[in-house]
Symmetry: C2
Subunit: 346 residues, 2 copies
């Protein structure tokens, strides 16, 4: 290899890198229904339901900051963000396997706290903790979580199924997790400057919880099922609304249009965004880590979906030739771009 | 928490830590057949076969040394050691999901090498690569591999099924991977002292391959099946023969007896052990990373198993009251203890 020709990871970006590494992979086993390219892999083990599997790697200093992440919350979040991937396939989580790499700076009691959080998440969401491996690391803590879930075969929802004229829907509200992160970062800087100052978290409870203790929307999966709604496409919002909407559009070979004014934003997210001089909808579009569901439904389901609590119609799917558009509050049409969480942080 | 009372991880050891963290966990879902405590978790998704799942976390500087680990070999080994866990359940690997955390010191080409190795392993063993996630790390490379496999329900083999008088069998030969590691470590030290010296690897090809490119014994799983042999208990040898034999005895609530003279050791392992002034059987008992299978069969299967190539009967299972014993070449009976790989390294 010629060193001068080596490609850096940032040249490609995360999605470009994955594409380069995995584009030549073709599944061969009968039991493999769907491989790389969605929130979870889909397997058919001959039962009535599909088995769905996803995994996540969380690295100290990259995905979480020990300064303001309570260990129990870390464990809880590591579990629930993966449960969210099951919801994104219209399924439910059933089993969890955890790998933990830890440096000697952590005590057994500290690791127990992480496990407590994971066990709590398992209890809340009816998931069995079926494997736990621990090993050493030279630097900090690495958590690797694998979740196995199930989904009825006729209800499985991929990113790729959206059709022009489908309605684009989102659950809950957006941007809160990102504003919570900014508050935590601000307090961290303040604490560094003056350790005697007490953190000022008044009125920030909701957005802090959004950041530190996200809940997967398995309730929405249940609600959709009860109302006989099968989304045509679905994804969970880990990287921000814009990025996820573009994923659906790309996988479905369509365009997408989002109305800025329709994006659901909580009052405390709105207020904190203003405090930080950030346009609230920008936090919602690019902030990420909200772990809400973004999905599309056929227009025929409009009557069924319009009055469901906790679901907002924010746009629609178009032909791919129309591109990906954001219709702003000022009624301007601009291209929808994914700045993403990493982009915002810089 | 009182800092003076905090427990360090080395106070408990790896197995003690896992026990402490997971002893209160009880599976609740119907689909969970077996959780923590074997080479893989076992799920019943309603099909004809069980689904088996295992995962491993490999950390740079702990599990591999970049100085002498070619990246392609690293990828290959990360995959095959997990395939080995499937074989240890008497099953076959079918799908693989990989998480990769990498620091910016790695180029895209370097990561491609790791992936090449993993893809090669998948091709050789008929496994589908169904998920690949990459993320940043602050330090070095972390690989997390999840393998999903399947096994016929009547053939699944746990660690816990051994009965007194069962024969203890092992595949292949032992101690080679550890001797390969010692050779690599020696050459590394030599290179540090004098970078102009060419490494002397003559005659070490076999043991280097044992260390750098282990192969899972899925062939033995097939051979056992063809000969209508279902082991009563099985485990793969990652930590050394002694440690794994004790795992079977503990899980089965039995004792175990091993004849030192029966332990299969390759000539080059034997020669290299002598070179390093290590008793060859000690390398086999405690060296680890051979990824051979250790299993027990009912005595009634003796006729079926005695002439199978690549399988050696090295001892037998006893009542738990008889303890765990090593019958030495000098016909002395000593307690079988797990020094393990970590112990040897110090």
């Amino acid at each position: 290899m010629n060193a001068s020709k080596l490609t850096t990871i940032s040249d490609l970006g995360e999605f470009g890198l994955i594409e380069r590494l995995t584009s030549d992979i073709t599944p061969k086993n009968e039991s493999t229904v769907f491989g790389i390219g969605d929130d979870a892999a889909v397997l058919d083990n001959g039962g009535e339901k599909f088995t769905i599997i996803s995994k996540d790697l969380l690295v100290e200093g990259v995905h979480f900051d020990m300064v303001y992440t309570p260990l129990k919350h870390l464990g809880y979040k590591a579990a629930t963000v993966n449960f969210s991937d099951m919801a994104a396939m219209n399924g439910v989580p059933k089993q969890m396997i955890v790998g933990l790499a830890i440096s000697s700076k952590y005590s057994v009691e500290a690791i127990e706290e992480v496990y407590e959080g994971m066990k709590m998440a398992c209890d809340v969401y009816g998931v069995d903790f079926v494997g736990g491996d621990t090993t050493s690391s030279l630097h900090g803590l690495v958590l690797s979580v694998t979740i196995i879930g199930e989904v009825e075969k006729n209800k499985i929802t991929y990113r790729k199924g959206a059709q022009p004229n489908d309605l684009l829907c989102v659950t809950g509200d957006l941007g809160g997790a990102y504003m919570g992160l900014l508050v935590l970062e601000r307090e961290k800087q303040g604490f560094k400057a003056n350790p005697d100052i007490q953190p000022d978290m008044d009125g920030k409870e909701y957005i802090l919880q959004r950041q530190l203790k996200p809940e997967p929307r398995t309730d929405i999966v249940k609600k959709l099922s009860e109302n006989n709604i099968i989304p045509t496409a679905m994804i969970d919002i880990s990287d921000g609304l814009a990025s996820e909407a573009l994923h659906i559009a790309k996988a479905s070979n369509t365009g997408v249009a989002i109305y800025e004014e329709k994006i659901p934003i909580d009052q405390s997210t709105f207020d904190t965004a203003n405090e930080f001089k950030i346009v609230p909808s920008v936090a919602a579009l690019n902030g990420g880590e909200d772990y809400e569901l973004l999905f599309t439904v056929n227009q025929n389901d409009f009557e069924k979906i319009k009055n469901l609590d906790g679901i907002t119609i924010i746009g629609y799917i178009t032909d791919s030739t129309e591109g990906n558009r954001l219709i702003t509050n000022g009624n301007q049409v601009v291209e929808l771009k994914a700045q993403g969480w990493d982009g915002l942080r810089k």
